[in-house]
């Protein structure tokens, strides 16, 4: 584990060197949980992603940078209960997706790249179990690992100016869901009626890093019904 400065008001904790969607992510989420529980004065918030945790602090309150590093190291060594990752270890979030042509402008291109029929792309995408490796880019956007290798497709050379909310997409070896209308370069293969981010909810983001996710193929009718 290494601790590096991230400017003068944050630091970056490199928890593990190599990313693995289960073991290494668990280690990162456990470390984040421990730092949270330590409630180090002056630490404002954490940003876990893949193998790292960004630790943001108030430089007016934390006078000694090395002291903060020591506090973090001490927090990580304490064998606190629960030492479980924070989110969704056992729970699986079910995400209904309509893969019909109207919602899947890039399905043909993904199929061409994989050299598989479109139905097969959908079947394989919907059969997998995925894990949220981090939430970012825009509020509530989940980066999901676990995409079957044959479905991996390089990002579009020309990103789209506008991708609709709920678009389910493939970018490189990852899959993800656009929480709201935004530009983006991933290949769109379906759409979910779920609201991924809503400031009115107690927990505004539907997904947290560590959650497991499964896609469920739905019809256009069911999409309309769920979207109500």
């Amino acid at each position: 584990m290494r601790i590096e400065p991230l400017g003068d008001s944050a630091l970056l904790l490199r928890v593990v060197e190599e990313f693995h969607p289960e073991q290494s992510l668990d280690a990162v989420l456990r470390a984040a949980r421990r730092i949270e529980l330590a409630a180090i004065p002056g630490v404002i918030e954490l940003a876990p992603a893949y193998t790292t945790i960004g630790v943001f602090f108030d430089p007016a309150r934390i006078v000694d940078y090395d002291e903060l590093k020591t506090s973090i190291e001490r927090a990580l060594q304490r064998n606190l209960e629960p030492a479980r990752p924070r989110a969704g270890e056992e729970s699986i979030i079910d995400v209904p997706v309509c893969y019909e042509a109207e919602f899947a402008p890039d399905l043909a291109e993904v199929a061409r790249h994989a050299n598989l029929p479109e139905e097969e792309i959908v079947a394989r995408h919907a059969a997998g179990t995925y894990r949220v490796t981090c939430v970012g880019f825009t509020p509530g956007f989940p980066y999901l690992s676990g995409l079957p290798a044959e479905l991996a497709t390089p990002r579009r050379a020309n990103p789209r100016k506008e991708i609709p909310a709920g678009a389910v997409a493939i970018g490189g070896t990852q899959t993800g869901i656009y929480p709201r209308k935004s530009p983006g370069g991933w290949h769109i293969i379906g759409r979910t009626p779920l609201q991924l981010f809503d400031v009115e909810r107690e927990s505004p983001a539907l997904f947290s890093a560590g959650d497991h996710v499964r896609f469920r193929k739905i019809s256009r009718d069911e999409f309309e019904r769920l979207a109500q």
Partner: protein, 325 residues
């Protein structure tokens, strides 16, 4: 009590010191691009540091007031007037019913922050009154101000009548470098980023010697810079990791992007450097066409400068309290 937005200008939004606690859900810090300028303006009108004010981008903002308030602004080289009287940056001014406050586009810099005693009273969303212009939440209905909007103002417990007498504009003011942050010679101090060592030595020396131009596709997320190409020695895929306002990241095209307040929470481009916190006010004034240079300092120096500024600000607040008693 309220203020009427007679003219909303080019881009004006409600901002406070930013939104924390939701970074792991992808929510940007946001808030005033120069939260120090807003904090200084807030202090001048007797508000708390994090009271919501207005961020005006490139003028021209015109407000009409319904009741008596103190107003103050800091930022680029704008001109502000209460009716016909000049309100210089870093001074407090008194407005009364039907008075008009006008802010004109800056001759240098791009943004100004206006504080009004009592603060702007919009609902707190995810712990902040800031407008998230990309997410369309917070602030006034999640959007920039429009002509004809009416903004609610909070209650102010200032005893203005007693202390203000016939005064219209304060004789006292904020230190000039806080009040007026547009600098013709824009040199931003940096500390090294995580991937500094992975850049070619030519790129490292370019960054601290050459001049970079701000391009037109810059916004509240970041200032995109054009200059000598910053080459990376070890390309290869990086996993996305935390970034922050001030981070200078370099995409494969070699053109650095200086991230600002509305930047995304994580990024996968190599980080060559970070602009130090005390220089973010200068970064916040960058406008397409401006030239900017960088100078390296140590992390310890960056943190000392910041600590000094915080101590100066605490003293400034104590000094101001004498005028409000």
């Amino acid at each position: 009590m309220k203020a009427l937005v007679e003219s909303a200008g080019f881009l004006t939004s409600v901002q406070d010191s930013g939104r924390t606690g939701f970074r792991e859900s992808g929510v940007s810090l946001g808030g005033a691009l120069d939260s120090h300028a807003l904090r200084v303006a807030n202090a001048l009108v007797g508000n708390k540091d994090n009271a919501a004010g207005l961020e005006a981008t490139f003028g021209k903002l015109r407000l009409r007031f319904e009741d008596q308030r103190l107003v103050a602004w800091c930022g680029g080289a704008s001109t502000a007037r209460i009716n016909d009287e000049d309100l210089p940056p870093g001074h407090a001014g008194l407005v009364t019913k039907d008075d008009e406050l006008l802010m004109i586009a800056p001759s240098a810099g791009s943004h100004a922050w206006l504080a009004i005693s009592g603060g702007i009273d919009v609902p707190v969303v995810l712990g902040s009154r800031s407008t998230d212009l990309r997410g369309n939440f917070g602030g006034l209905q999640g959007r920039a101000l429009r002509d004809g909007d009416v903004i609610s103002l909070g209650n102010s417990d200032l005893k203005i009548e007693a202390s203000w007498k016939d005064r219209r504009i304060s004789e006292w003011s904020a230190p000039a470098p806080w009040a007026s942050t547009a600098d013709a010679d824009q040199v931003l101090r940096i500390v090294r980023g995580s991937h500094w060592e992975s850049f070619a030595t030519g790129a490292q020396s370019s960054l601290v010697t050459d001049s970079f131009a701000v391009t037109p596709d810059s916004d509240r997320m970041g200032a995109r810079l054009e200059g000598p190409r910053l080459d990376f020695v070890e390309p290869g895929d990086l996993l996305s990791e935390a970034v922050a306002p001030g981070t200078v990241q370099v995409p494969p095209n070699g053109k650095p992007i200086l991230l600002l307040g509305d930047c995304q929470t994580i990024g996968g481009y190599p980080k060559i450097a970070h602009v130090i916190t005390v220089d973010l006010p200068i970064a916040a004034q960058l406008w397409p066409g401006d030239a900017v240079r960088f100078r390296e300092v140590s992390l310890a120096e960056a943190q000392n400068l910041l600590r000094e500024r915080e101590e100066d600000f605490a003293r400034f607040r104590v000094g101001l309290s004498l005028h409000f008693s």
